[in-house]
Amino acid sequence: MPVPDEIFRDPVRLAKFADRLLRHGSTRALVFMHVCGTHEHAIARAGLRSLLPDSLRIIAGPGCPVCVCPPEEIDLAARLALEAGVVVATFGDMLRVPGRISLAEARSRGGDIRVVASAAAAVEIARHEPGREVVLFAVGFETTACTTAAALLAHPPDNFSILSAHRLIPPALEALAGMEGLALDGFLLPGHVLAVTGPEPYDRFVRLTGRPCAVAGFEPVDILLGLESLVRMANAGEAGLVNAYPRAVRPGGNSRAVEAMARAFTVGDARWRGLGTIPGTGLDVHPERQRHDARHRFALAGETIAVPDDAPGCLCSRVMIGLAEPEDCSLFGTVCTPETPHGPCMVSAEGTCRSRHLYPAAGSVGGTRTVTDREGGAS
């Protein structure tokens, strides 16, 4: 008999489990970072922060692929539509993310920009319109990169190409771990990403930080299971990676997906909004598939235009790495709202600011404490 995921969002179990964390949690203040927009969304929607003990704080790391996509890549996609006249297919979240102009603005200026729900849907557009060039502006971490890889490997038509803005998480976490001012006691890792890659790529990160890590799923009880592991390890002063999502995360991950990514892409350096360039975090279309690489096909490479990361006053680049709370930003909820987003964290459904704006009661307990307020700290 299959175990439906609903059980892991059962409110009775959730309340009992949260109570257990309250009674058996840590006496010292602990700060954990999650690195996944889906976790932020689930935490905010379920109001988990208000259920947890005051001593336990969860902050959002750079886990929203839409938010970390740098403006120059959005600019490139807009120029492909406006200057090269191609059909740009992308996920709905990307439309309003600010570059010099957003893709929504490019569309209003006549660019043919279409929202798709999958890489396969972009390939279908290319098949149905053989006279048009179709570029998939592909954004996302390993969970999405493997689907782009699958589309590239499934013999797409010649008029289909990829503008890859995919990013890899482990080397970015390693870079984050070395940043000054980040005082963290552990990391909650994203279950769907490790379902694809397996836990092994995080071994080095665990060694580097000497902090507890737990991979968790996205139902509220899943997240508490992850947090409980983190509390237990932090209390014991242990480092390690606990798998709190064994129904999806297995050693080696999904070998087909891992292999598809290796065949479709090569690893390169990439820029993250708010974090700068991080070596080894980009995925470029594999040279053997160059005819499906929009950067090669349309010769726009090297024409990067410097675009500032944030609108004036916007704290997104600090919010994204957990150094500021949305409430610390003077734009938050005043001029920057889901209807009129100024920064990427308000644009994406998984962005920390958007999530906090939609579910304000589920925000940080006890106001906006900064990470440096607590005792001790990670290096």
Binding site: S118, T144, L225, V231, A244, A349
Partner: protein
């Protein structure tokens, strides 16, 4: 865009599949998973099944969770993720 949702397989046709979640049906691609059976749960992200859910592991974790919750006055935190 990064939401990944477990959905139940209803139909399989080569690398195409039909899944169901909360009464809604979706067409997905099965390129990234091996053979899947009707009624199995797959983790669906951006229109692709990216992993098959392990029912045995789910049942084990659930049993452990029930055990944790039934303990009246446990004084230490056992490992729910082991």
């Amino acid at each position: 865009m990064c939401l990944a949702i477990p959905m139940r397989i209803i139909e399989v046709d080569g690398t195409r599949g039909l899944v169901e979640s909360s009464g809604v049906r979706y067409e997905i691609r099965l390129d990234l998973v091996g053979d899947v059976r009707i009624d199995e749960f797959v983790l669906v992200h951006a229109g692709y099944a990216i992993q098959v859910m392990d029912e045995e592991a789910a049942a084990e974790q659930l049993a452990l969770l029930e055990h944790l919750l039934s303990e009246e006055a446990g004084d230490s935190l056992p490992d729910p993720g082991a």
